[in-house]
């Protein structure tokens, strides 16, 4: 009888100790699981932060991550990126259009400037008086100058090769002064206009005939 009782006690003892052991094991497993979850969450947060800051490193960071949640975050970042790209493209196109308009305007302006600079007025031999043609050209220059009040110009006086070069320096100065006088009388501020004479030293046409000489007896206009 006593022998049977001691067997029962032993069995009971074993059951209790086993159950205690199981209990302990399950608690440890639970703790480990919580820790893992926390780590994953931290990693995710870190990835999100990095995505915000440096989208270029997206691939590098997402590689070691296997969880579904980080995949989702990566996709979102990609979407955002694409949207940004589209926006940039839209802005670029707008900018290009604007630039094209500006360039067009600049081209037109440059053409006018070029015309202003390249349309010389001409003089008769040993003369510095303005011809009617010269006055017409100067009138156009006046209106352009009045539309561009920020610009200053320099008028160069030139002569043909005939005659003394010292006299021609003086004559060239007279020619540039004649042109300046016209502009100033027509209302262009004198402070915007300067003059220089090159005499016969800078011919436009190197020839030695009346055609060349006629081209070389000129006042030339430069925007400064």
């Amino acid at each position: 009888m006593v022998k049977r009782l001691s067997v029962y006690l032993l069995v009971f003892g074993l059951i209790v100790s086993f159950s205690l052991f199981l209990n302990a094991c399950s608690k440890k497993a639970l703790r480990e699981g919580i820790e893992k979850k926390e780590e994953a969450a931290k990693a995710e947060e870190k990835v999100k932060e990095e995505l915000k800051g440096e989208p270029k490193e997206e691939t590098k960071v997402s590689q070691p991550l296997k969880s579904e949640e980080t995949d989702k975050a990566a996709t979102e970042a990609q979407l955002r990126e694409e949207e940004l790209k589209k926006q940039r493209e839209r802005e670029e196109a707008a900018r290009k259009e604007e630039a094209a308009i500006k360039e067009d305007a600049a081209k037109r302006e440059a053409a006018v400037r070029e015309e202003f600079e390249n349309t010389d007025i001409h003089f008769d031999f040993d003369k510095f008086s303005l011809t009617n043609q010269a006055r017409e050209i100067l009138a156009k220059k006046v209106s352009w100058l009045q539309g561009h009040t920020d610009l200053k110009i320099k008028i160069e006086g030139h002569c043909d090769e005939r005659g003394s070069n010292e006299y021609n320096m003086a004559l060239g100065e007279r020619r540039s002064n004649s042109a300046m006088q016209y502009l100033v009388t027509a209302g262009v501020e004198a402070a915007r206009v300067s003059t220089i004479s090159y005499g016969e030293e800078k011919p436009l046409d190197p020839g030695h005939d009346e055609d060349a000489w006629a081209k070389n007896r000129r006042a030339h206009f430069k925007i400064e």
Binding site: D126, S164, E166, Y167, M169, A170, E173
Partner: protein
């Protein structure tokens, strides 16, 4: 400036005391209407030792002698083929050895003989002039220098030859400053009167114009656009130092040295109109001389400094005028054409040279300082402009476009003996003959 340019003839000595007292007798009266050319024989100089590759030096001596005496217009140079005595290797030295009869029989009245020695880079030349007609020695000189001084030595001996025959030294060792565009820019250059030994004076890579020698030959004034505006510069060519002396607004052009070299007449337009002013050498403005609505440029002083001739268009076209040194007593001198310019007063004060436009071309003329006795020196040879007198007034340099481009020419003061000097690329202008140089 290359130091070799002004070399060193270490000494020039009168070898022989000349009992002929050649200076007291004038063989050639240049100014006489009955003047005739003096027949002279030039022999090849004897090589007394040292290297003379293919006889180059001997040939060059002969060529320079011939050229200078030809340019002078005073001599008929006898053809060497007429010489009885062989011209090459003829004896030099002892006067007694010369058989004057051999020379007078072919019509020669003067004879140049000499010798040279080229040793260790040293060149020694001995040159002598004889009066064949009277059978006597006139002048002898010995020159010592380097190979590159050969031409200069012979030029100097030709000066002596002229002194012996005319009582006035030649100008064969003088130089000419001018403008050339051969580099693509207009720069100032200097050459010997015969076109040799070109030296570049400016390197402004701009437009440099109107060189004017100071009376002592040490400086050249000129205009340059180096800083954008036509400003006046003075360059000391001995120490190679350049100063911008005037850079007023507008024109700073046409410099002309006062005879004492301390001031210059120039054209400035700082007061709105091109007028003639007098500046001191440092550019300080001293005095305005002209005051009228027209252009006043290209002043030139009379040699006594009392008068200035200049160009003005106050009566409608450019003409030559004259005024006193205070800007008073203005008189117009030219009336004959519609364009007269570039006046240059002769060193003796007796003439004014200028260029004038007639029949579609510019030509060189001279006139008396009162506008009378106008003589045309060039014709039918394209445009001839920018006359400038040699320091003895016997020659003029000028530019001519007779061959297409404008080139430097020289001629005698009567228009004879016109010849191009040098052969440069591009166009040349504004030649200015130097004073006598030390």
């Amino acid at each position: 400036m290359k130091k070799t340019g002004y070399i060193f003839i270490i000494f020039i000595c009168l070898l022989f005391f000349s009992p002929a007292l050649s200076h007291t007798k004038t063989y050639i009266d240049i100014d006489s209407p009955s003047f005739r050319r003096f027949p002279i024989a030039i022999t090849y100089f004897k090589n007394l030792g040292g290297k003379d590759n293919k006889g180059d030096m001997s040939k060059e001596i002969f060529e320079v002698l011939t050229q200078d005496l030809e340019v002078s217009g005073l001599f008929t140079i006898m053809d060497t083929s007429l010489f009885i005595e062989s011209p090459v290797n003829s004896e030099s030295g002892n006067d007694n050895k010369i058989n004057f009869g051999d020379w007078s029989i072919i019509g020669v009245e003067a004879l140049v003989k000499g010798s040279f020695r080229f040793d260790n880079g040293n060149l020694e030349i001995e040159a002598k002039l004889y009066d064949v007609f009277h059978g006597r020695f006139l002048v002898g000189k010995r020159y010592v220098g380097e190979r590159q001084d050969l031409r200069k030595m012979i030029h100097r001996f030709c000066n002596e030859i002229l002194l012996s025959f005319t009582g006035e030294k030649g100008v064969f060792d003088t130089k000419i400053a001018f403008v050339s565009d051969e580099s693509g820019y207009k720069e100032i250059y200097v050459i010997d009167f015969d076109g040799h030994n070109m030296i570049k004076i400016t390197n402004h890579k701009s437009i440099a114009l109107s060189p004017a020698w100071s009376p002592d030959g040490k400086m050249i004034a000129f205009t340059s656009y180096k800083n954008g505006n036509p400003d006046l510069y003075v360059k000391d060519i001995i120490v190679n130092k350049e100063d911008r002396i005037s850079h007023y607004e507008g024109l700073n052009i046409a410099p002309a040295w006062f005879p004492d070299g301390r001031k210059l007449a120039v054209t400035l337009s700082l007061e709105g109109n091109p007028e003639i002013y007098v500046l001191d050498k440092d550019g300080k403005r001293l005095k305005r001389l002209t005051n009228d609505w027209g252009i006043d440029v290209s002043p030139t002083w009379s040699p006594d400094g009392k008068e200035i001739a200049f160009v003005s268009d106050r009566s409608g076209n450019p003409d030559i005028y004259v005024m006193n040194s205070q800007g008073e007593d203005v008189k117009r001198l030219t009336f004959q054409t519609k364009y007269s310019a570039s006046p240059k007063w002769s060193p003796k004060g007796d003439k004014i040279a200028f260029s004038s436009l007639a029949e579609g071309h510019f030509d060189i003329y001279t006139m008396n300082p009162d506008g009378t006795d106008v003589r045309r020196l060039t014709s039918n040879s394209g445009d001839n402009e920018y006359p400038s007198w040699s320091p003895n007034g016997r020659f003029l340099t000028f530019t001519s476009a007779r061959g297409g481009n404008k080139r430097i020419y020289i001629m005698r003061a009567d228009g004879s003996g016109q010849r191009q000097i040098g052969a440069f690329k591009g166009n040349q202008l504004n030649p200015c003959w130097s004073p006598r140089l030390q």
